[in-house]
């Protein structure tokens, strides 16, 4: 294994150092490095973050390899500065057995671009009717700790209660896709003045907020751990803040796209802006940013959701929900949170690496940079900027909503378990 020295890089506290990497760990962090290294990389102008951890990634394999594979998805993750992703369970077959979760983890290990943790389905086939063998997944080689029917809501309150109770036995967490199905039948976009004008069926904020409110109360009642996926409304932020003030063990994520894009973009009827939960109002965006800043929302997660072109090149109602986001996440967070003064880089490291790893119980990931820590590192240059070009995304699918936007920052080098996955903005062949 080659050794590396990244020179002239800033730590999140602003200190300028060199970081030495050897044998998979950080060998030294010093302003005057003493070790000798095979290769020296330029880190000037960059901030050094622990490798990012995405708690919410759709890798689509098995079943929709036309949209993404574990290999292509983790490669996109590496390009975005990630060293770990949690692969969502809504594959085909669904990740509701030990066999599937072990397969996904194994594919990730073989691909080698970043660590893949499997999310297990809460209910068999995501049908919401009977509990999947959560224990079998937890005790499998995949060591699943995060369970989610993401894409579908565990809407039956008794099922949700049982799942929350049940996962407590192995320190698991239920990650809820909060969407009351009764309130969102055939829903197309945020319900509000834009949907009123466009004549698209509304997806009311209350359909998200009502489930979150119920679930924090359930988690409180059974004293279990709850995570809320892709929070999208001001009311949700408010409810989670209320729950945390009562000491309820709830965590929450927000996506980059919900931090930046509003439902006014739907006026184009272009399905690249179609996502679930939908883009919301500017007031919601402001509340999400404040919530992420004050810690009400714990983390940023991408909800990277690749779709082939044909699923977006159609009328709005027929289009698939979802946006890719791994490759642009850090830039969007810089634009919305750092350049606005809401977060510093230390807080970004917390919200995009350290805390997601804690929520997901991802051992060896999300470790603050320190001598002896696993060398999972993202070297990021906040001073660059680039216009997003769909064709340049290395995800197998190109459905980025940020196309044409000028986003700040660029990931320069990425190390995963001591090996580079990206050097000088170029992917390193595996």
């Amino acid at each position: 294994m080659s050794t590396y020295l990244i020179k002239d890089v800033e730590l999140v506290n602003g200190e300028k150092v060199a970081i030495g990497i050897a044998d998979g760990v950080i060998a030294e962090i010093s302003s005057k490095p003493t070790g000798s290294y095979d290769k020296v990389l330029d880190g000037s102008g960059c901030v050094a973050l622990p490798g990012l951890v995405d708690l919410h990634t759709h890798l689509r394999e098995p079943g929709r390899e036309d949209a993404e594979t574990v290999l292509t998805g983790t490669r996109a993750a590496a390009r975005g500065g990630y060293t770990a992703v949690f692969a969502m369970a809504n594959t085909d077959p669904v990740a509701d057995t030990a066999g599937v979760v072990e397969q996904v983890v194994r594919l990730g290990r073989e691909a080698g671009w970043c660590e893949v943790f499997a999310v297990g389905a809460v209910t068999k086939d995501l049908a919401g009717e009977s509990m999947a063998e959560l224990g079998a997944m937890a005790h499998s080689a995949a060591q699943v700790r995060v369970f989610s029917d993401d894409g579908k809501c565990v809407s039956d309150s008794q099922m949700m209660r049982r799942a929350l109770e049940y996962v407590r036995q192995f320190d698991g967490v239920v990650a809820q896709h909060a969407q009351d199905p009764k309130l969102t039948v055939n829903a197309q976009m945020n319900e509000g003045s834009v949907s009123a004008r466009l004549g698209l069926r509304g997806w009311p904020a209350v359909a998200e907020e009502g489930i979150i409110a119920r679930d924090v109360l359930l988690a409180s009642h059974v004293k279990s751990r709850l995570h809320i996926c892709h929070v999208s409304t001001a009311g949700s932020v408010d409810i989670i803040r209320w729950a945390k003030s009562r000491g309820i063990d709830v965590t929450a994520e927000v996506t980059p796209h919900h931090l930046l894009l509003s439902d006014e973009l739907v006026e184009s009827y272009d399905p690249k802006f179609k996502v679930n939960p939908p883009l919301r109002s500017n007031e919601d965006i402001a509340a999400l940013r404040m919530g992420l800043a004050d810690g009400t929302i714990d983390i940023v997660a991408t909800d990277h959701a690749p779709h082939p072109a044909e699923d977006k090149e159609c009328e709005w109602a027929g289009a698939a929900n979802g946006m890719i986001g791994l490759e642009t996440a850090l830039s969007v967070v810089q634009k919305t949170m750092v350049d606005t003064g809401l977060l510093n880089w230390s807080q970004v490291a917390g919200r995009m690496s350290i805390t997601p790893a804690i929520i997901g119980r991802a051992k060896g990931q999300g470790v603050a940079l320190a001598v002896g820590a696993p060398a999972n590192i993202c070297i990021y240059d906040p001073n660059q900027s680039q216009v997003v070009v769909a064709a340049e995304q290395i995800s197998k699918s190109k459905n980025t909503p940020f196309v044409g936007m000028d986003l700040p920052g660029q990931v320069r080098h990425v190390f995963f378990q001591g090996k580079p996955t990206m050097i000088s903005t170029q992917m390193v062949a595996r």
Partner: protein
Amino acid sequence: MSPELVTELPRHLLSIADLNHDQALLILDTAEELAKISDAPIKKLPTLRGRTIVNLFYEDSTRTRISFEAAAKRLSADVINFSAKGSSVSKGESLKDTALTLQAMGADAVILRHPESGAANRLAGWTNGVVINAGDGTHEHPTQALLDAFTIRRHLGTVGGDLEGKHIAIVGDVLHSRVARSNVLLLTLLGAKVTLVAPPTLIPVGVESWPVQISYAIDQVLPEVDAVMMLRVQSERMQNSFFPSTREYSRLFGLNLDRMNLLKNEALILHPGPMNRGLEISAECADGVHSVILEQVANGVSVRMAVLYLLLGGNIGVGS
């Protein structure tokens, strides 16, 4: 009518929101001119000779399709009717592929009727031709609004003028009505005051941003308006509890003889058709002295001629 004026119109007619006050008046005024042709012995103008117009209908609507077809033919265009089944939602040929096919066949304009909101906007992005929205989902139906405004102006307004100061009620299922959306935009653009009357379940959340007033009491509104537009109510809305029963809907929001008697003498009753007689409107009202429902149909051809003429006519003046 000068070429300069003609070129003021947007390229497509997707939404009334694409029009400004002058453009809307231009269409109405042009329709008045063209209406004269309908009274002429030879109801034909050579304006669009050699142009190909496609009626691309993903929903059955004989009434609208025939109206457009008649309008196009009176302008001497060639009309191709294309009744498509399915959509991306139901996995037929994609709208995009259909658009590219029509373009390859040389269509100068596509008149699109589609069950999904925004379909016309999407189509406009995939074709070089002119796109006219003939009703997209629950979004808009701009030519319906134009023919409604045209009808109202003929009765209540001044030739060449707008609807300043007129008060028009739109009654019924506003939530699901493309007719209502286009009419709210157009009538208020033309200076009219609009009151929506419906059960709160059938008024969209977010309506606060519309330039309208809301009422739940039709009996209070009717004496004050110059025209009342009754919207079609689909009885299956009952199954989703938008209202408890057609009986209750009719009792609370239907236009019947007693209510018709609340209207001012000169007030108009409009309906975009097809009507559910006995539900949102009784036969006495539909066929009574206030009704201009059949005029609406007749005016539809003139207005659609005007739209085709202005969007496709290029620099060819009327009667040239």
